[in-house]
Amino acid sequence: AQTVTQSQPEMSVQEAETVTLSCTYDTSENNYYLFWYKQPPSRQMILVIRQEAYKQQNATENRFSVNFQKAAKSFSLKISDSQLGDTAMYFCAFMTLNQAGTALIFGKGTTLSVSS
């Protein structure tokens, strides 16, 4: 069974600093997607960044980038120049495709607090 582990329940950072959120996963699949979703207090699920497992190049989206280590099954999120609006819960998620279709499996989340 696939699992996703986020070992940091809470993290805090000051504005303009850089923070890295950790995520590891377990799977025997070779093809899959990895995601980071942001969930602010409104509970809306916002896609931050996506990585396809077959791509060696790490994905980047403006201030957000990932460090994808396929052999180590690690997928960390780096937030540069942190802003107050980055305060939220961040979920790492894994998606693969099998006969049953596709579904996201989530980690338990990391609560990030950005302070001024």
Binding site: N31, Y33, F35, Y37, Q39, S42, R43, Q44, M45, L47, R50, E52, Y54, M89, F91, M95, L97, A100, G101, T102, A103, L104, I105, F106, K108, G109
Partner: protein, 119 residues
């Protein structure tokens, strides 16, 4: 233009009642899902439908019954509500697995959530 919309956003009801949450997507997707986020904010899939066909049915009490009248809609009906059903329920949709291809940028899109409180 909301891609995945669910109603109601907030629902407060008494134990024992029956309630429904509706979901609609305008993305042309064939696959839709229901996720439950509990009080500890853990997100777990409940059901998925592909073109009106039930595909994934996780260990969910049979008081929960999804219904998909067409591929753009997936409703969730809950009978005999219990206190433990209080949660945020998310509807989501994605591309059909039959047209899925690696590198296509397939993503699961979420609705804004329906906050259910059972008192």
């Amino acid at each position: 233009d909301t891609a995945v919309s669910q109603t109601p956003k907030y629902l407060v009801t008494q134990m024992g009642n029956d309630k429904s949450i509706k979901c609609e997507q305008n993305l042309g997707h064939d696959t839709m899902y229901w996720y439950k986020q509990d009080s500890k904010k853990f997100l777990k899939i409940m059901f998925s439908y592909n073109n009106k066909e039930l595909i994934i049915n996780e260990t969910v009490p049979n008081r929960f019954s999804p219904k998909s009248p067409d591929k753009a809609h997936l409703n969730l009906h809950i009978n005999s509500l219990e206190l433990g059903d209080s949660a945020v329920y998310f509807c989501a949709s994605s591309q059909d697995k039959r047209t899925f291809s690696w590198g296509s940028g397939n993503t699961i899109y979420f609705g804004e959530g329906s906050w259910l409180t059972v008192v």
